[in-house]
Symmetry: C2
Subunit: 212 residues, 2 copies
Amino acid sequence: MLISEQERDALYKTLFARRDVRRNFRPEPIPEEVLQRILMAAHHAPSVGFMQPWDFVLVEQPETRASIRDGFVEASGMEAEIFEGERQQLYRSLKLEGITDSAMGIVVTCDRKRMGEQGLGRVLNPEMSLYSTVCAIQNLWLAARAENVGVGWVSILDYEVLRRLLGIPDSVDVIAYLCVGYTDGFAASPDLEQRGWQDRLPLSELIHRERW
Amino acid sequence: MLISEQERDALYKTLFARRDVRRNFRPEPIPEEVLQRILMAAHHAPSVGFMQPWDFVLVEQPETRASIRDGFVEASGMEAEIFEGERQQLYRSLKLEGITDSAMGIVVTCDRKRMGEQGLGRVLNPEMSLYSTVCAIQNLWLAARAENVGVGWVSILDYEVLRRLLGIPDSVDVIAYLCVGYTDGFAASPDLEQRGWQDRLPLSELIHRERW
């Protein structure tokens, strides 16, 4: 099946307009058919040995999300301490999550034993099952952007909080907590770039020919 | 910026038509402008703390790729042994890489210390830098598909072979070897599904509401 130039350009438009959304979320729920399309996109990610190790826990209840946000507040307070002076001030002024102001959370997990302890493509590199789940997350993120739905990945969190609150089995790895919801608009560039935390690197410096 | 329904559908078309390509590669080189667009898409992946930890080593020389393929042959011979009987026979009949028959290889790495030993969003979850690189790989994969270029991720490989052959520094993690090239066509469904290795799971079984 051929992809046309017009279709290619639509993919690039979506891909470059994707943002890690943490602010300007709107509370209205995501229609079930939109949610199902986004999750179906995630489910069509590549996975090592076609093991499809992902699960999705959809979290809407306000009390649950308030507890998850408490976990973020604790974790970010700790993380702030690794920075000093103006850098710490800047860190504390950033909005780094939208756990309670987004429409919902999606927790994405990885069952590393789904198709057995060992499997095709992951004997030498067992972390491949985790990476398959991350590919699903990126598919979900792009599909959401194509639906004009914002997604933000909250990694400033002790994922054991999620395991306890949501009853996630010990045998399953928690990979991500995603804030998901409609927004008042997507920023033109990443927040951390706009706020002077970190510039975008020149791509040319990251490309090596034949050898590093 | 709004994504239209037509643009959304182009993204879904590309996403569902993406394959892990291991066969039917054609040898003609990828034009430089196409390659640059694909790499630019990778470079616009989300990254924790905007650290952009990825590098790309482009490998075209036939001798280098022949040596990498030797590494695959050794690794897959070992991996085959974990399966028994008919399953092992099936494993040995699968084509699991296109290292020398694709146009080129792209090795994708992760420099976990690019923005310091610790950084925003990765104090509690340091694996986030690796996951950022995987998001870049999935962006690259989808952009390539939109350019009608095939990509296959070879994980049946001791990545230390790549480190030695390509001079990758010890401080940098090797995340993927990707076979990249035009193909005679993309399969309608994953090879491992077609060959009866593994079926696609029903999405509904992977979705949990409020709790696992």
